[in-house]
């Protein structure tokens, strides 16, 4: 079990998300960086969809109440376990009463803490993710608070065949290194994030000059950006005529343009329906990049095709398979 020591807001329990309840008005929730969540679980031998803690505000402190293996993925929060540095994208063993400190990352927005076995909260409507608007799922349907105690599901995987001790102290290459995107190497220029976009229903309803600047300009991610959506600032988008849409289903990644002309990217806690015109959708394979893009930094949209967007999902699966093989090789080497 772990105890949250920080009086922190906005850390939540998330898994890969809640599927199949959109028709009841229930959005998907789930980790903003699903690649990081899955990778943390793979490092520990958990199912990829096990629940972990998403931490967007630092510093964040917690205390281990038992011996347990954990993994840290996502933004590099220069973690320390009782003062001892823990590398990012790494798995380690915590002893009872040790304190883990996660500090403000130099880049990236969200850190994921996974526990061996996965965070033990009830499955509600098929998922352990926190549904903030509906106040259910996760830990009591709300963000974590100081003093909250969370347990882990008993892990059956990944212990040393002879000693029974957990296999830890190894890591993997983060996806921003393994899967670079954009004209500049993102590991060098962290102030700009490239994401691929597929045009959506109302794409053709904007002025040519607006469409050109949509692709060419740097969009600033404003401070009004969170799990619900990112509000962007740049040269306003101008429609050829005023647009009015009937309420319709939307998905995480949809880029809406409200009358102000400043786009909003709907994200994992967004409502599953809306009425604003949609200019495009950030492809599913790049949503993790958005999840790590911080307010104040810049976004650049890159036009893609459906075929390339589908292959990009395969590339992510290949990356996760590689991590899985690496973890298994490590396991074999210890036998």
């Amino acid at each position: 079990m772990i105890e949250i020591l920080s009086a922190t807001a906005l850390a939540t329990v998330q898994d890969l998300g809640r599927e199949g309840y959109l028709r009841y008005g229930v959005g998907t929730s789930g980790a903003m960086d699903r690649v990081a969540l899955a990778a943390g679980n793979i490092l520990l031998g958990n199912p990829e969809n096990a629940a972990a803690i998403e931490i967007p505000v630092f510093p964040f402190h917690l205390k281990f109440r038992d011996d347990i293996a954990f993994a840290l993925t996502g933004a590099d929060a220069t973690a320390q376990l009782d003062g001892m540095p823990i590398p990012p994208w790494w798995t380690a063993q915590a002893k009872k009463d040790q304190v883990l400190c996660l500090n403000a990352p130099n880049h990236g927005a969200r850190c994921y803490l996974a526990l061996a076995g996965g965070i033990d909260v009830p499955v509600v409507l098929g998922s352990r993710s926190t549904q903030l608007r509906g106040e259910f799922g996760g830990h009591c349907g709300r963000p974590l608070q100081q003093g909250d105690v969370l347990g882990a599901i008993r892990s059956t995987a990944r212990s040393d065949a002879f000693t029974g001790s957990p296999l830890v102290d190894f890591g993997v290459q983060p996806p921003e290194v393994a899967l670079p995107l954009g004209e500049a190497d993102s590991s060098v220029d962290r102030s700009r994030t490239f994401v691929r976009v597929l045009p959506a229903a109302e794409y053709d309803c904007y002025e040519e000059s607006s469409l050109a600047s949509f692709w060419e300009q740097d969009w600033k991610i404003t401070s009004q950006s969170d799990r619900y959506g990112y509000r962007l600032a740049g040269t306003a988008m101008v429609p050829k005529q005023a647009l009015e849409q009937r309420s319709h289903g939307i998905v995480p990644g949809v880029i809406q343009v409200p009358p102000s002309g400043q786009p909003i990217i709907q994200l994992r806690d967004a409502q599953p329906s809306g009425g604003y015109p949609k200019i495009g959708t950030v492809i599913e394979a790049d949503l993790w990049r958005l999840g790590q893009a911080r307010p104040g930094t810049r976004l650049r949209f890159v036009q893609t095709t459906y075929e390339d967007a589908v292959s990009a999902l395969d590339t992510i699966q290949d990356y996760l398979s590689k991590i899985r093989s690496l973890a298994e090789l490590y396991l074999l080497s210890k036998r």
Partner: protein, 224 residues
């Protein structure tokens, strides 16, 4: 205003990234068109590539199980199925919602009075008269999109949204009316309140109401 769904005679199919498709029916936002959408949803939800079919207002969102390699085939199948013209009549229950109009929990009734030029009694009479049809659920857990409001009480959405509207708020936004199911932001005009609970994640199904159900608002009290 250009309303694309009205201006075209054929359905529009557009991509929602690699996550799904949006199918928009041509024609009016009326019960007949909505019955065709419900029927289409019933047909396509069994297709192997579809995880969920989500009806909304004269349109249908399809969420992929995994993105189909051959998108053109899915589009064709969707159009062919729509053109069969099937309608699904859902035998809804009639649910009566007692509403306290005006007062502390109906803070924007004055704006509706000002916009329509009607008295509070007239507004309540017009609002409680129809049997509203639940067209679809969306927006937040348990929220219903209703069809059938009398346009005489239509009132534009608020310029500045209310940040925290309580669950049970009965409101008017443009030509639509609805009841919020949980606390959250809203740009609609709140005219009253009901104590009904619309969503319980531990119940199956989790939502109290379903498409095809009928709602009647009953004036429990009018506070001037």
């Amino acid at each position: 205003m250009m309303n694309r769904a009205h201006s075209d005679h054929s359905p529009r199919i557009s991509l929602l990234g690699t996550t799904g498709l949006l199918f928009e029916a041509p024609g009016e936002l009326d019960i007949r068109n909505q019955r065709r959408i419900w029927w289409l949803a019933r047909q396509v939800e069994g297709w192997p590539c579809i995880r969920e079919a989500v009806p909304s207002m004269a349109n249908l969102m399809l969420i992929f199980q995994s993105p189909p390699r051959n998108l053109a085939t899915v589009r064709e199948d969707l159009l062919t199925t729509w053109n069969l013209g099937g309608e699904l009549t859902l035998d809804g229950r009639i649910v009566e919602l007692p509403v306290v109009y005006g007062g502390e929990h109906g803070p924007h009734i004055a704006d509706v009075i000002a916009h329509t030029g009607l008295t509070i009694e007239e507004i309540v009479k017009i609002h409680t008269e129809p049997l509203y049809t639940v067209y679809a659920l969306g927006s937040h857990p348990g929220y219903c999109y209703l069809g059938g409001m009398d346009p005489r009480i239509a009132t534009p959405r608020r310029k500045v949204p209310v940040l925290s509207l309580p669950g049970g708020a009965v409101s008017i936004g443009g030509v639509q009316t609805g009841v919020s199911a949980s606390t959250g932001p809203s740009g609609w005009n709140t005219i009253g309140h009901t104590d009904m609970a619309f969503f319980d994640p531990h119940r199956d199904p989790p939502a109290l109401l379903a498409p095809g159900d009928l709602i009647r608002f009953r004036a429990e009290r009018i506070i001037k």
